[in-house]
Subunit: 268 residues, 2 copies
């Protein structure tokens, strides 16, 4: 039987990135799936965290279950859910104009926010303008968002990823929508929730009901996972199964606390 | 009879801004209209220059004629026309994917450019991605533009105005579209044609068939008209009938060569 390496024993909670750690695109990383199962036998709490806000947590639950991981929806946090939790926690509730897709709208409504339509926002403004990835993004959504922000609505971005890879090649990410609305409204977002911001990790800690010292972030990207963990004050482990190479780590100013070639190496 | 002030006698060509100089929104500035008529009696060549690319030059011709100014379409330069002239002059021609409205497409086709559709651009790329104000702007236009730019198309912006005033209030300008496409493509425009860039003024000089020293730019904005004239090496006159006050001129690093309260003061 495997044994968890001593340096990882202290962590009761593991925050796991998905793309580059559990799968690469559509291809699962089987040794990572096995490692997650193994971590659970040691009683570790696991939370999967992703910047994607278009898919629902239910979708991820299904995909992870198809890999043989018995996860519940409560073990998944996407940036839409994290945004909804943050707005509920910090402001109680309010009227939100959403530039985003169904997944995001569902999460916001799930936390009791009132999602308003374009016409209603144009007439009466909103408490929040929430901006995520939106394949129905258009001119009048920018115009409506800029108007509400200029009238005082808080400008919230689920994340600032400029692009994302797809089967069609690179496509515009939430950060592109955020840039357009920033330019038109003359202001940067008040809050960016997703990595590399600290907020999504702080919501994750809260969700795990653990202290920072008890938690470890595992991810494949220095500029999102590791940087975000640093900002949130959480220890981090870089896995080299994704986009970052060992040479890139050496050049980077931001250093993870641990580096492993594979999730397998969590164990001896 | 009026007499042109001595300091303005040397200029054979006058490049005139429209909004803030000839009208403010829908309201004409009658003394400016009279001044333009007067300038013509002295044999001065006049060219009206605007950053707007959605309306056609024909529209401006009509509007100016309604004020009693007998102008021809050849005396009007909007940023769409200037972009078309620049691309023709510098590159001869080529395939252009256009994020913009009919006015811009018409100008490009008028100078012999081949304007291609989204599907054609997605499949085979383009020589130029030309971005202007576009009220039909949407996600897939951004995706198509970013793809072509990342594959090597030149990225041309008609202008970079972030917003513009309308009867509905402030609306997103071409600069908002440019910001979205810049973010997604990971690059700034190769050429910005409109003010405060020098290009639109250089095309204006060429159109007037005069030398820089023989030409004067008259405008109401330091950050567009006067800055653009500086960059192009053309003398400039700030008129205080638009957005800039005398206090703002004093604070500004960029100084016009002349300042007048009204176009009337061109004469004694």
């Amino acid at each position: 039987m495997k044994r968890l390496k001593r340096q990882f024993e202290a962590y009761s909670g593991i925050i796991l990135d998905l793309d580059g750690v559990i799968w690469v695109g559509k291809k699962p990383i089987l040794e990572a799936v096995e490692a997650v199962k193994e971590l659970r036998t040691y009683g570790k709490k696991v939370l999967f965290v992703t910047n994607n806000s278009t898919r629902s947590r239910k979708d991820y639950e299904k995909r992870l279950r198809n890999l043989g991981l018995k996860v519940s929806i409560e073990e998944i946090m996407n940036s839409g859910y994290a945004t909804a939790l943050l707005l509920k926690e910090r402001y109680g509730g309010g009227k939100a104009y959403v530039v985003g897709e169904k997944g995001l709208i569902g999460e916001l409504e799930g936390q009791g926010l009132l999602v308003i339509h374009k016409d209603e926002c144009w007439e009466n403004g909103a408490d929040f303008v929430v901006v995520g990835m939106d394949r129905s993004f258009d001119y009048w959504k920018i115009a409506t968002a800029m108007r509400a922000i200029r009238q005082g609505a808080l400008f919230i971005a689920t994340n600032a990823d400029k692009t994302f890879p797809s089967e069609k090649g690179l496509l515009p990410g939430a950060g592109t929508m955020v840039a357009a609305i920033s330019t038109a409204s003359g202001k940067e977002p008040d809050i960016v929730v997703g990595k590399p911001s600290r907020h999504i990790f702080e919501m994750a800690i809260r969700k795990l009901n653990l202290r920072k010292e008890e938690t470890l972030v595992i991810g494949d990207r220095i500029d999102t996972d590791i940087e975000g963990a640093h900002k949130a004050g959480i220890k981090s482990l870089l896995i080299l199964t994704g986009v970052t190479s060992r040479e890139e780590v050496e050049k980077s100013k931001i250093k993870p606390d641990f580096i492993l070639n594979s999730m397998k190496e969590l164990f001896v």
